[in-house]
């Protein structure tokens, strides 16, 4: 038997035992979620981010947008009325780390995709007060003038693949993605063609309104425009989602 006195006089032992006690609390809450069947809703449409969106997401984190914006619409009436459908677990299954956030200085962004035009986002990010006079959001003018560095986008996708995001490298993985997401999306999730796909998406959509360049603005707006748009909620009865809680 370890005596109380032994623990109190041995800092190393005290630390180890404290960690064990604390982790029990975490494990009891988290581990069951991995084997309870009803955690992640089975909905179609949710896919990993394309290389351009992924870089946009990196910039979102770099700039600390999550400090003022949550991405988690909660199942309450007032949020439903303001933002739309509450967020599903399935919608952030490929997000590592997730961007739920915990502070709403600005509005929730989980369903901002498609709500505004690209031109609005560009004007708003350069100087929010140009379009929303009373806004307290900071300016991000450098996004529009900094070329996007995408030299390491393949490495970033590989890192996410290790956490279970289905980006493909081998033919077998590619075929699996074709079956899961269809050929068009599967192409965009192919690590080996990441740079090409990124360039193509940026140039065809021209998010930043500068035809000849691919800037950080292109990436961030591409990311914002896809948020919350992947699931077609008209395909499901609301009661279905209630089974997962």
């Amino acid at each position: 038997m370890i005596k109380h006195e032994n623990i109190e006089t041995n800092a190393g032992l005290l630390i180890v035992l404290t960690l064990i006690v604390i982790s029990i609390g975490g494990l009891v809450e988290i581990v069951p979620l991995f084997y309870i069947n009803d955690t992640v809703e089975k909905v179609s449409g949710v896919r990993p981010y394309t290389p351009l969106e992924l870089r946009g997401r990196d910039i979102y984190q770099r700039e600390g947008c999550y400090l003022c914006h949550s991405q988690m619409v909660r199942p309450f009436r007032d949020e439903w009325l303001r933002y739309g459908h509450y967020s599903l677990a399935a919608e952030s299954q490929y997000d590592h780390p997730f961007q739920w956030g915990s502070k709403r200085t600005g509005p929730d962004l989980a369903r901002v995709g498609g709500k505004y035009s690209n031109a609005w986002h560009v004007a708003h990010l350069i100087n929010p007060r140009d379009v929303v006079p009373q806004s307290i959001m900071p300016n991000y003018p450098w996004l529009q003038t900094t070329d996007l560095d995408y030299s390491d986008v393949q490495a970033r996708m590989r890192a996410l693949k290790k956490t279970g995001v289905p980006y493909s490298e081998t033919q077998a993985e590619f075929d699996r993605n074709v079956a899961a997401f269809g050929p068009e999306t599967a192409n965009k999730l192919d690590i080996l063609h990441a740079e090409e796909n990124l360039m193509q998406q940026a140039l065809t959509n021209d998010y930043d309104g500068q035809r000849d360049r691919v800037t950080e603005m292109d990436a961030l707006v591409a990311y914002l425009q896809v948020l919350g748009t992947m699931v077609d909620f008209s395909k499901y009865d609301e009661g279905y989602f209630a089974e997962f809680r």
Binding site: F76, R77, Y116, A119, W120, V131, V132, F241, R245
Partner: protein, 309 residues
């Protein structure tokens, strides 16, 4: 003081440990109120575990009892499930007190024609209050809280000049389906002189004093194949609503900030810039984001904001 003395004299129990020879630790009993509060939380937890979803068991979890929720699903079927916030929300959206109240009006609005809504003061009052909130959540970021817009980017909805038409039907179509305001860029078509000429003519249409010779040359460009401006802006310059082409004969400017300066040369420059750069402006469509009844409310609201037509 005397309390401290009593302790040092051993009236209070110690843990029995002694550090560095004489440092001891008192062992005071917990305050009674604290202890009872602790027991109360334990009892609360036990009751909670019985009533609400709590413990993981195998591939599932204990669902709680005595507080099942019965709700009407999207397909109209009635379902009963264990207590959870999602089911609670579905029920609340259909049967909650506020929901009932607003539904009563919402279904009235949904069933009514535009003419009926406009003629009924009670429905109009409801429309104004609800649509104001909808406008704030969905439209104000672009058009401004009062609908005043941002010159160059987003049109003013509070004036009575309309790009796409101010009738109820046209406003409804604008909101439900969105609009794409497009004018080609003429930077490759015109040289600097031609640009100046046609801009002079455009400015003269709304009564601005301009160089008469340049104006005459500009008129030819505007009204012929050379510029082709009349196809969209009409020969009179009043604009085709079906194209969303601006009326160039009024004092209202939505893209070129002509009224923002008194200097004729700067006015000319600003108009030239729009003609050479063209216009591409996107008004998003809302038919997927908002319900038909919500779009109806917004249509009436915006229509009224702009004086109505």
């Amino acid at each position: 003081m005397s309390d401290k003395k009593a302790r040092s004299q051993g009236a209070v129990q110690t843990t029995g440990h002694a550090w560095d020879g004489d440092i001891q630790e008192f062992n005071n009993p917990l305050p009674t109120w604290w202890l009872w509060a602790f027991y109360a939380t334990v009892v609360f937890a036990l009751i909670y575990w019985v009533l609400y979803p709590a413990w993981p068991v195998g591939g599932s979890f204990t669902k709680g009892m005595f507080n099942d929720i019965t709700f009407v699903d999207s397909d109209g079927s009635v379902k009963t499930t264990h207590w959870n916030t999602r089911a609670l929300l579905i029920r609340d959206l259909k049967e909650g007190k506020e929901a009932r109240l607003s539904q009563e009006y919402m279904s009235k609005v949904a069933d009514a024609s535009y003419a009926q809504i406009l003629a009924d003061p009670e429905m109009m009052a409801y429309t104004r209050s609800v649509a104001k909130g909808l406008f704030g959540d969905n439209c104000a970021a672009c058009h401004g809280a009062g609908g005043q817009g941002v010159i160059g980017l987003f049109p003013n909805l509070a004036d009575d000049a309309w790009l796409w038409g101010g009738s109820i039907e046209q406003v409804h179509k604008t909101i439900a389906d969105g609009r794409y305001g497009f004018m080609p860029a003429f930077s490759d078509t015109f040289d600097a002189k031609q640009l100046r000429d046609v801009a002079s003519y455009v400015l003269s249409l709304s009564g601005n004093p301009v160089d008469g010779v340049a104006r005459a040359r500009g008129e030819k460009i505007f009204q012929t194949q050379e510029g082709g401006c009349h196809y969209c802006h009409t020969p009179a310059g009043t604009g085709l609503k079906s194209q969303g082409a601006a009326n160039l004969t009024d004092q209202i400017w939505t893209i070129a900030d002509v009224n923002g300066t008194d200097d004729p040369a700067v006015k000319l420059e600003r108009v030239e810039k729009v003609i050479s750069g063209g216009v591409q402006r996107q008004m998003p469509h809302w038919s997927e984001r908002l319900t038909p009844a919500q779009i109806k409310l917004l249509t009436v609201y915006v229509h009224e904001l702009g004086g109505g037509q």
